[in-house]
């Protein structure tokens, strides 16, 4: 989307903010929104943005509308734009848009583009005002996976089941297709860079391999989430599960030096190999427990992601693991403090770095452990500011292409500052 659309979007958002101040235009139409601007700085390792130099390329804006068409039917939509380093670039997209038909307390149907119910925070991950921390615990909510698990197009059934003295259950199950990120996005860039590295290592010294003209199709995604609100007030247990299939078609271009005709001048063999790959998401599940008592919230969550890559008939398995412990406390309407410890292993069976070491990479690519502390100040009901500090060991989520110099440090720090206005 070009810059004029972008300006139009921001002007509309600003105009509506001033004129409506969060009140509805019609009795059954609601208009709300938010604008966030952040700053990230690290002492080593570019992470998510050009963080070593410090970067303001970290913002979100959204405009949400919904209208009750009848007693049972509500329709709504959220326009959303964000920038995070090379991601988003403030292009306006439809974040979610669907019709919601509530038949009974225990059954409702949604059809359209729907936020995927994964874990405690996935559905609201882009909305800074909903939590204390600036960055969600990356052990479970990896930014690199965001575009892949944020929303799906399809249908879901949801509802609430009362269990008497055993509390109640919220559930949602869905079927559809995922919003597959563009093939030039960092999500695929990360995967294709890894694939290129693997292929290059298989070829004779001096060879290069690249993935060209990738075409990715998501065949389907199916999953569900269940949340048990226990009889112990404030304690809930939640599980979510997703599985799906996607196809990748691409050309592998390899350049293999055959002989050196004269010093520094090689006769090369150019190869163009059509590649067909399938990714079966065996399972992507989370388990979590949350306890909240008035101003205190404590959460623990665990993620396992398991994929089968089938490349030209050869099967490779990839299994990642992550978890975190989080607690936050609100001292007053104006001030809250939060902290979490988050761990992620890109390969669940390699927690000491044997795999990256085998290919000459630093061992710390095998994990990322993050202690985070955040201070949140709510200046008024509509405006907040956050300060955040991360002490990180490991670089499992640091992307090589963000650090072309190759200088990766195992121990590093990240600082964040963010402000949000909402109505």
């Amino acid at each position: 989307m070009n810059k004029w659309y972008r300006w139009f979007f921001y002007c509309t958002l600003f105009g509506i903010t001033l004129s409506l101040s969060g009140k509805s235009v019609l009795s059954n139409l609601d208009v709300h929104g938010f604008v966030s601007q952040g700053f990230l700085k690290s002492n080593y390792n570019n992470y998510l943005v050009n963080s070593v130099d410090g970067s303001f390329e970290f913002n979100e804006a959204a405009l949400t509308t919904s209208i009750r068409v009848s007693d049972n039917l509500r329709i709504g939509m959220q326009l959303f734009a964000r920038d995070l380093g090379s991601e988003g670039n403030n292009n306006v997209v439809i974040d979610w848009a669907y019709g919601d038909y509530r038949i009974k307390d225990y059954l409702g149907i949604r059809i359209g583009k729907i936020k995927t119910p994964v874990g405690q925070y996935n559905q609201g991950r882009d909305v800074d005002l909903l939590r204390t921390s600036i960055l969600l615990p990356q052990g479970v909510y990896q930014e690199s996976m965001r575009d892949f698990i944020l929303a799906f197009q399809g249908a879901s059934a949801y509802g609430n089941l009362m269990l008497g003295i055993l509390g109640d259950i919220d559930y949602e199950c869905y079927y559809g297709t995922l919003n597959v990120p563009e093939t030039d996005s960092n999500f695929w860039k990360n995967i294709f860079t890894g694939l290129q590295d693997t292929l290059t290592r298989q070829l004779p010294e001096g060879s290069t391999a690249s993935v060209e003209k990738p075409d990715v199709t998501m065949k389907y995604v199916v999953g569900g989430a269940v949340k048990w609100n226990s009889p112990l007030q404030g304690l809930n247990l939640r599980g979510s599960y997703a599985t799906g299939k996607l196809n990748i078609d691409a050309d592998i271009q390899a350049v293999v030096p055959l002989m050196e005709i004269q010093p520094g001048l090689f006769l090369n063999n150019f190869m163009n190999i059509p590649l067909s790959a399938k990714i079966d998401v065996q399972h992507f599940y989370t388990l979590s427990a949350e306890y909240s008592h008035y101003n205190l919230t404590a959460t623990a969550e665990y993620l396992i992601e398991n994929y089968d890559f089938t490349i030209e008939g050869k099967k490779l398995n990839y299994k990642g693991e992550g978890y975190y412990f989080l607690t936050d406390y609100r001292f007053s309407d104006y001030f809250a403090i939060g902290s979490y410890y988050s761990v992620h292993y890109p390969r669940e069976n390699d927690k000491t770095g044997d795999y990256p070491a085998k290919w000459g990479d630093p061992r710390c690519f095998a994990w990322q452990k993050d202690w985070c502390t955040t201070l949140r100040f709510d200046i008024n009901h509509n405006w907040l500011i956050k300060l955040e500090y991360h002490l990180i060991n490991g670089c499992g989520q640091v992307r090589k292409f963000d650090n072309p110099s190759g200088e990766i440090k195992e121990n590093w720090m990240l600082y964040g500052l963010k402000t949000t206005y909402h109505f």
């Binding site: 609601d30 709300h32 938010f34 959204a62 949400t64 919904s66 009750r68 007693d71 049972n72 509500r74 709504g76 959220q78 979610w96 669907y98 919601d100 509530r102 009974k104 307390d105 729907i114 936020k115 559905q123 609201g124 909305v127 005002l129 909903l130 609430n160 009362m162 109640d168 919220d170 007030q233 404030g234 909240s292 008035y294 101003n295 609100r330 309407d333 009901h381 909402h422």
Partner: protein, 151 residues
């Protein structure tokens, strides 16, 4: 001897206390057209968290609250919902920005809540116990089973 008397007094007080029910500081009100006259405190919680959306007669439940600053709002949330005004607002903001619901309508005064509930089919709200049913027109006070103790 003195300590025996003290123990007897404590036991007496413990036995007698349940005979004096706790004062109900909040009343749950609803539009007079609904069938329900009695409601459990668990159902009140479900309604105000958007889980129960229909009355017995099939009417859509319309939730009404007092503004976040109101003392009665804070008392109601503490008793029935077990949340602070901030966490209640945050709960509805999550629903709002993920498309799962719209926050309840809120009013600055109890009189505004009463007028809205009287005029709106399926509406439910709460007021302080200082109001008696005789003062309310087209509004019924729902008797709460398992009225929560001070939270």
């Amino acid at each position: 001897m003195k300590s025996n008397r003290l123990i007897s007094l404590i036991i007496f007080l413990l036995l007698v206390t349940p005979l004096f029910p706790q004062e109900q500081v909040i009343r749950i009100i609803a539009n007079a057209d609904i069938n329900e006259t009695v409601i459990t405190s668990e159902t009140v919680r479900s309604i105000f968290l958007g889980k129960k959306v229909k009355w017995e007669n099939g009417d859509q439940i319309i939730i009404v609250t007092l503004d976040a600053e109101a003392q009665v709002h804070e008392q109601f949330l503490k008793l029935f919902i077990k949340k602070t005004p901030y966490s209640f607002t945050n709960f509805w903001q999550i629903k709002l920005f993920t498309g799962k619901g719209v926050p309840p309508i809120s009013f600055p005064t109890e009189e505004d809540v009463i007028h809205y509930v009287a005029a709106t089919q399926g509406a439910v709200g709460y007021i302080s116990a200082s109001h008696s049913e005789n003062d309310l027109e087209n509004v019924k006070i729902l008797r709460v089973i398992n009225y929560p103790e001070n939270g």
